[in-house]
Symmetry: none
Subunit: 194 residues, 4 copies
């Protein structure tokens, strides 16, 4: 009884997702360089060879993770753009960004680690660059929102806003327990969105 195409598709999806989940888990816990393919496939309960069917090796797994981060960045920005007033837009950016981090600090710690990767690391720097492009794109959009708000020097203000958000993200990742997320959020919103 040959499998139906749908059954194949299901199997494919299951294996590749298990692989990605395992890689995500381990990259976050141990870091990219310190995680071996062996560990990933063992955790995913899949053979080593199969990994190379679904991904372009270890780097392919990382790329898939980056793709998730980009989608997540865009979701926040897209969400902001559906809001009516500039203030609400900024509020959404601040809240969306910080809530995401707060829900999974380890994951964001990994992303921030990637962002700060040395420029010449043969593997990671490439993905740091991809993320950087995405941030720049978002920065432009955000600056225009500040402009709409009538701020004098919208790009400078936008830069401080991003810096503050980034700084809080870093703090959440460094001290995930006991971090007074709500108080920080309200201080930021008070400062930038009022």
């Amino acid at each position: 009884m040959p499998r139906t195409p749908e059954a194949y598709e299901k199997i494919r999806k299951q294996s590749s997702e298990r692989l990605l989940t395992a890689a995500l888990d381990l990259f976050i816990k141990k870091g990219y360089h310190s995680t071996s393919i062996e560990e990933v496939t063992k955790l995913a309960q899949v053979s080593k060879g199969l990994l190379y069917h679904y991904y372009q090796g270890k780097e392919g797994l990382l790329e898939a993770m980056i793709q998730m981060r980009i989608e997540n960045l865009r979701a926040v920005m897209d969400g902001a753009l559906t809001k009516r007033t500039p203030k609400e837009k900024l509020c959404h950016i601040a809240e969306g960004t910080l809530d995401n981090v707060f829900q999974n600090p380890e994951l964001y710690r990994f992303y921030m680690n990637l962002q700060t990767q040395p420029h010449q690391d043969q593997v990671l720097a490439k993905y740091a660059d991809i993320l950087k492009k995405e941030f720049e794109r978002n920065f432009e959009i955000q600056s225009r929102i500040f402009e709409m708000l009538g701020i004098q020097d919208p790009r400078k203000r936008s830069l401080l806003f991003s810096s503050t958000l980034n700084g809080i993200m870093l703090m959440i990742c460094s001290y995930p327990d006991h971090f007074p997320i709500e108080e920080m959020k309200s201080q930021v919103i008070e400062e930038f969105c009022k």
Copy 2:
């Protein structure tokens, strides 16, 4: 006839510094894991074995770098404590911190990368922890300065101050060129030290 102790000391200093400089250079450029001992010793123009005379292996070099960072953190804080008024103290912290980063963004990129290292990385996490301890010590001192300023919830304010500083550091490291350092500094000082 052996050399004089002073002559030996001079030789030792020269070699160990060459080694540390080379390691610093490469760790910053390529990252710790992606830098090999061979590269370090080649850049330092020294044999592989000699590295182990002066440092406890690759990790020893990293430790020496961390020590430099700690000394630099303490220098900023000690400098702040010599100032008279709380406002001047905070100003010194903000300026000292950001100026350091601005002068050598790549180096601080490395330190921030270290800070965001996954917790289970067998080598790096250890040094991330050491730095974290140092930050916590500084945070306490800084909170007391905010207290002296008569701020209502000094720890919360201190946390936002640190977050903002950290965020700007991250931005400087990510976009070292064209970063409007002075404008950012004045915005921060306006916000927290006035």
Copy 3:
């Protein structure tokens, strides 16, 4: 399409045995410390990496050899226990032990070398200890056989018996050619098993 589990099993057995045989050969000829992994894998006609698939490094190979020695010690003692009279039991121990050594003096030279390893050798001492435990276990059994024989001080006699056997083993290992094994055996049996 993957191979059948049996096919994999066969491949594994072949490679791991080739590796163990090569290691045994070289450890015996050149000693543990003086044999390199490179030599072992070259003799086994296998890549360096494969060794680590099958054994826990160099030490794992040694452990496998020790396991063989332990099994061989137990076989002699188990054989002795199937004999009816105490005299026959002792005879079996003497003959079994010495015949084994005579058949492969170089191997036993290696084991005796291991036994006399300095206590602080970081690798070998551990295995010397494991063997020691096994000898002590056998000594107890052997002492009880002497007891059954009605000897006055069975433990002392058992100790001299073991000493003599060990001494002859040492001599066989040192002078494997022309060693009058049969004459020695009969002197020992005359002395202890009559």
Copy 4:
């Protein structure tokens, strides 16, 4: 004030003896291969370079130790030859040999380890051979003593005697505590020297 030749000689002797004592100590404790020159010179409180003035490197230290063993073997045999009757001579061999071992089991453990060294170990086998020659010389003398005693097959008896002695030595080295040295000695003397 230049040193007198005697003073020089004293310094020489002191340094070279300190070196030998340190090497002896460490070789016994950790084994030849597992002891580094660095450790030896550190323990002897002498520079690395100086070692090479007094000895032909690491191997030279080993050679000096072997020389000590040979002198000690000869002393026992020479002592035996001063005795009047063959029985007394054999007694002296047995007692002299075993007492030496009992007084410093670790040292003899090292010598026995050397004796059982694999034949192709590039360093140690050479010294195993030197010792072997010495044993053969002693064996001839000892066999003649058994001949004088009127034993039928003196060489066979001499061989068993040596074997037994060696076996007891091995036991003492393996179980230096609680070893009933006197009982063993008397059993041997009873068996061979009466």
